[in-house]
Symmetry: C2
Subunit: 741 residues, 2 copies
């Protein structure tokens, strides 16, 4: 009986236990919802390893081959072909994205007239042509013979006919024309300038006030070919150097975005300003030429010898010009004549957009983009970047289609149109979706030219992103290396000593508008990254890779001279993709605001060193700026301490979201839409462009330079104004990092 009772109790205990187990695990507990694990999920390191392993050089190479099949200048049939390529890839059932579509804008472009090419000639007094500048680059392969290769020209140069004596104006900087005008009367002259030192259009804008009637621009072999200039054995196809007839094309406008629709997306019925109201474009004709012709013109110039800083690599003395050619030259008394037939036209340009929808926070976007349009075949610019983007989307798309991955946040890919004409596709996109993108975008990653050269990573970004860039670059092998990381190679080539981190790679700043990050950084205030593989600067003086914007930027050039084996492309794809996955998947955004504080302190120290004494002399206190930066540092530290003390995976998802919003929106707090009225769409008071050339707050630096130069009270007032603007912005940003109110 006792045994029976014991057995009974034991049985009952077993049954009870079974009941408890069933009750605990078997019944859907209404207080333990199914989404609980999803919202707490962090980045999956094994998935990143899988991604890195799958990024493949052959795919990148074949992407590049397809993209560079024909010239694809914006809005040409070749451009439409690449639109179709992008759509087909991104809509692929096995390796595509969730969705892909095109978005179109009607944008203001400028082209030469194929039926009436631009001409530059040397003519004598009877208008007899003594020399004609080459109208097309010399063809070394069939690529360059394609009839779709656009004649070298200066987009947005006005059409017109100019004739005058030639002068040499160095780089066409204001100081160059100023100096030249002290020797010569420039009225009625044509100025020849070399690339570099000033913006393309600026070379004409700076010239016009002196009465110059036309400008030529060329690439001096000193600045691009390390001095070499023979096409028989030195330049492409024998090396990466620009052949003598090579010409850098380009857009010669100052502002980015469609020029007729400032701050408005360029839709069909959108208001357009009258073209005569466009600012920042050349007021006089300008035309780029090859150094083969520039050599003939410059070495024939009369007048005094230009100073040594003006001398290039030609084997002659660069004279100012008499104005005009020297008496001993065959061109004695001749003029240079420019006949420019550029036409402005409103054309339909497409962005191609693709998206992977986020699972947990679909309303948070990580955007990755590059432009699609080139000047000619654009193997390096931009197709190296597009090839990388397509390889990233192939690998990620396949993981999505296989159901093994879906990012926490949404990822948007943008293949921008008409970048070469002034970042137009990306700018119009930010104008059309201003509110949505401002509110929801975590970060923008731009990979335009993915590989300039094979030596080292180059990355520019907001400082808050330094850490994730470092982390990703440590996990990727340097091209062709098995034990050195991208990070190590980078640190070797370019480094700085951080007060916090010691010796680290030098991250650049996004202070300009060199690619499609511009609208994201400056107009929207979105934390952005621009990256590529690039040169060992100890080995070349080239301003940029020598085939840039020429007809020689082809698949052959890229695969032979820029990245044989596509290993640098692969390294960039791996690094950028790694960053992208971390931004999209990390529970806590991988942003570090103390790294931002370090750069603000660095800027502050520079400002104190350079300006404090003179500011005090003008009764302007720099103390508010010091207080603002100190407050930013304190609040950044407190936020990080709070994060450190939190168990984010187990707290309410709204707490993580709150912190992530603080991190995401940090750069937005630096925007001031009224601080720089003369700089189109520049609103970020820390990173806006500056002409003062100081590594400090740009508005302050420019205003200070102006005030120091003019000495006017009203200019010192502007210094004070910019000091207040930047102090308030930093304090405002700091307050967003503080505890919630």
């Amino acid at each position: 009986m006792i045994i029976k009772a014991v057995i009974g109790v034991l049985c009952a205990a077993v049954v009870l236990a079974i009941g408890i187990v069933i009750g605990h695990f078997g019944i859907n507990n209404s207080s333990a919802p199914s989404w609980l694990n999803d919202v707490a999920k962090d980045v999956d390191e094994s998935l990143i390893e899988k991604f890195l392993a799958e990024v493949d050089t052959i795919h990148i190479q074949e992407n590049l081959r397809e993209l560079t099949d024909v010239p694809h200048m914006a809005t040409t049939p070749g451009d439409e072909k690449t639109v179709q390529t992008m759509l087909r890839r991104w809509q692929d059932a096995d390796t595509g994205l969730d969705d892909a579509w095109r978005e179109e804008y009607n944008v203001y472009l400028s082209f030469p007239d194929p039926n009436n090419p631009n001409k530059v000639t040397v003519v004598d007094a009877a208008n007899t042509v003594q020399h004609s500048i080459r109208e097309r680059e010399k063809a070394y392969t069939s690529d360059q013979d394609d009839p779709e290769v656009v004649q070298p020209y200066a987009a947005y140069s006005p059409a017109g006919h100019a004739k005058g004596k030639l002068v040499y104006a160095n780089q066409g900087k204001p100081s160059d024309y100023e100096q030249l005008s002290q020797t010569l009367n420039l009225t009625g002259t044509i100025a020849i300038t070399r690339y570099g030192g000033a913006g393309r259009g600026a070379k004409a804008i700076n010239a016009a006030p002196y009465g110059v009637v036309g400008v030529l621009v060329y690439t001096d072999p000193l600045d691009i070919n390390d001095g070499l200039m023979s096409d028989t054995n030195e330049t492409y196809p024998h090396s990466w150097y620009m052949p003598p007839s090579g010409v850098e094309r380009g857009s010669f406008n100052r502002d980015f975005g469609d020029l007729l629709t400032p701050y408005l997306a360029a839709k069909e019925e959108t208001y357009r300003i009258p073209p005569e109201n466009i600012v920042g474009i050349p007021p006089i004709p300008i035309q780029p030429i090859g150094f083969e012709d520039a050599y003939i013109l410059i070495c024939a110039l009369g007048g005094d010898a230009a100073p040594s800083e003006w001398q290039g690599a030609f084997n002659c003395t660069y004279n100012y010009g008499g104005p005009g050619f020297k008496p001993t030259s065959e061109f004695n008394n001749s003029d240079v004549k420019m006949d420019i037939y550029n036409k402005e036209v409103i054309k339909n340009s497409a962005n191609v957009m693709g998206v992977i929808r986020g699972s947990v926070e679909p309303d948070r976007y990580v955007i990755y983009g590059n432009h699609r349009d080139s000047w000619v075949h654009g193997a390096i610019d931009p197709s190296s970047g597009t090839s990388v983007m397509l390889e990233i989307t192939r690998v990620l798309g396949r993981m999505v289609k296989q159901g093994i991955w879906r990012p926490r946040r949404s990822i948007i890919f943008g293949s921008w149109g008409a970048e070469e004409f002034g970042l137009i596709g990306s700018a119009e996109y930010t104008e059309q979706y201003f509110a949505k993108l401002s509110e929801r975008t975590i970060a923008y990653i731009n990979v335009d030219i993915a590989v300039f050269a094979n030596a080292t990573l180059r990355a520019s970004a907001m400082p808050s992103l330094q850490n994730v860039i470092f982390k990703a670059s440590k996990e990727v092998n340097a091209p062709g290396e098995s034990s050195t990381s991208v990070y190590e190679a980078w640190k070797l080539h370019s480094n700085r000593t951080s007060p916090t981190h010691g010796v680290i790679p030098r991250l650049g700043y996004l202070t300009g508008a060199g690619s499609d990050y511009a609208a994201f950084v400056h107009y929207l205030g979105i934390s952005s990254i621009d990256m590529s593989y690039t040169y060992d600067r100890s080995k070349t003086n080239a301003r940029i890779y020598p085939a840039y914007h020429t007809a020689y930027d082809t698949f052959d050039y890229a695969s032979k001279y820029i990245d044989p084996g596509f290993v640098s492309h692969q390294a960039v794809a791996r690094t950028a993709g790694n960053i992208l996955i971390r931004l999209a998947d990390s529970l806590l955004l991988p942003f570090n605001c103390s790294d931002y504080a370090e750069i603000l302190e660095d800027y502050l120290n520079t400002a104190v060193t350079l300006y404090q004494q003179q500011l005090e002399a003008h009764k302007i206190s720099i103390e508010p700026l010091k207080r603002a930066v100190a407050m930013f540092r304190t609040n950044a530290q407190q936020l990080e301490k709070m994060i450190h003390n939190s168990d984010l995976a187990n707290e309410t998802p709204l707490k993580v979201r709150r912190i992530n919003d603080q991190l995401m929106l940090l750069d937005r707090a630096f925007l001031d839409p009224l601080a720089f009225p003369d700089k189109y769409a520049f609103r970020h008071v820390i990173w806006t462009s500056s002409s003062a050339g100081k590594a400090t707050f740009p508005g302050l630096a420019d205003a200070f330079a102006q005030a120091e130069s003019s000495g006017l009270d009203s200019d010192w007032d502007k210094v004070h104004y910019h000091l207040s603007v930047v102090s308030q912005a930093i304090e405002g940003a700091a307050s967003t990092l503080a505890d919630v109110i």
Copy 2:
């Protein structure tokens, strides 16, 4: 045996069941975190009932008594006393908030000189004074005798001495001076104008181009006292009407915020523009006077009779002026002389801030505010609102201190300083915390003058808030009523027929800058509400309550004539507090974007009716605007359908947060910081101020009026520009309502 077996099975079943129960409910399920209920919690209706029950007329009355104890013009000792009152209340251990503090700004104010009062006199050719305008209002109670009662003056009128022949310029509108100048040469004259029709400062700004050297302004009994003007039996203290010596003070600046620090918070070291660069202030002296004196001056005027629309309530004909007085008057040939000694000074003004920290989403703010400063005792303006705010914070604070309530979101209370000088405290606050407030604020509720009169609720708001205002007002009894709700009484007094809702109360729009909502609506784009109890317009023509900005706006006046028993104050406190709790506690924000769509459609219909024909004649298509509004409607409906089909309490909290962010940020999408360069801090393209007087898109309406008047192509271009601006803004807003990308 069978029975035993059955019993055994039954016992086992019972034990199993017990086990299941224990397992299910008795063991803390590790996958069911403690915060799960908190994040899904919705507004507690019983708590709202408790709140409504506790709002008490006696407390409001005693708040008002304390706040109006002494005059408390901005930055005076009386103002500091109210700062201390607010801090003491909000820091109270039993009924206070979580935290309260003061925030200070150094702001540009304008005061008369107590040692050298402004004088207006009638002088003869020998400069002998024939009549002196009263310098202080007549005292009927000891309140008005307080030496701290500021002399009536026009803040921001320049100091100066003006002398000239008097003319009558009606309301000082541009058309008034235009008309007057067709009869008279206005050079060197002094113009007397009545309040109404044009902004205060505008009466002087409009006058100056005609050579007018000084302006007087008074309140005509027609416009405020329903014609009554005797202090022996008709006006206060016998009724609510303004006594003959009563003078409406005011600020005479056009723009809001500190005038020296546009877009910058006015801290000690902030950059200040030179005072001579201030725009929108009177260029010539202006001084307000009582109708007692105005009567003497106007009835003595010579010249032709002014038109009937210019005639007021005086028992004489309002003549234009000869210029000057009529020959039969004792003032024949006399001048009016103005000696204005106003001084501008930078003074320290405080906002008092208080906060209840949110439990679940502390980084979402509902802001409730009112200004604290008055012109004199300010019983109605603003202390009626402050009394209401203090009663709301007392009831809510007590619930917090007792631990029975903590809102889901944070609530911020603002007691703004220096509103009377141009909404300065609230504007500086929005400038200092621009980024944080833009990113996190759900809504702003403004209750300035809580009670103008006892007849009906008046509320103006963004249309998305209509529904929560209606809901709250249905739950509150109309003052002194037990069966009629505030909503019903409101609908009776002022209604419209909505295509969706049928007959509903008429909600106003926040198109102006009449109180501290201005910076929140126009500068930050935050969905806002401004509300009060107000008149039965069928019973009075008064522009506003007659003691407005006079020395008669006292506790005695308020409690006797405006709201005996404080029942309207109570109704406003209950309604506003109800709205506040719903905004702070609702799981899903009580915003309705279809109601926004309805108003946009209404605006569109008006625009089509008024403008389409002429737009087409000028080759401007209105189609983009139609498409944008249609897209807004479609996306609003889809969002609401998605909400309707969701079980928000059981889905991831991030989904609710996503929808709430869409709702919260909707108004932000309408901001354009560059669309209205001539209107300080006006950025909201739907609600910005307009002079065209049409219930449609303001930028379009104003541009159209200008183009229609001038006929210039460049003005039609501006019409097209504004059409594009508003179309893009609405489309941008619509896209934020769409599915996530």
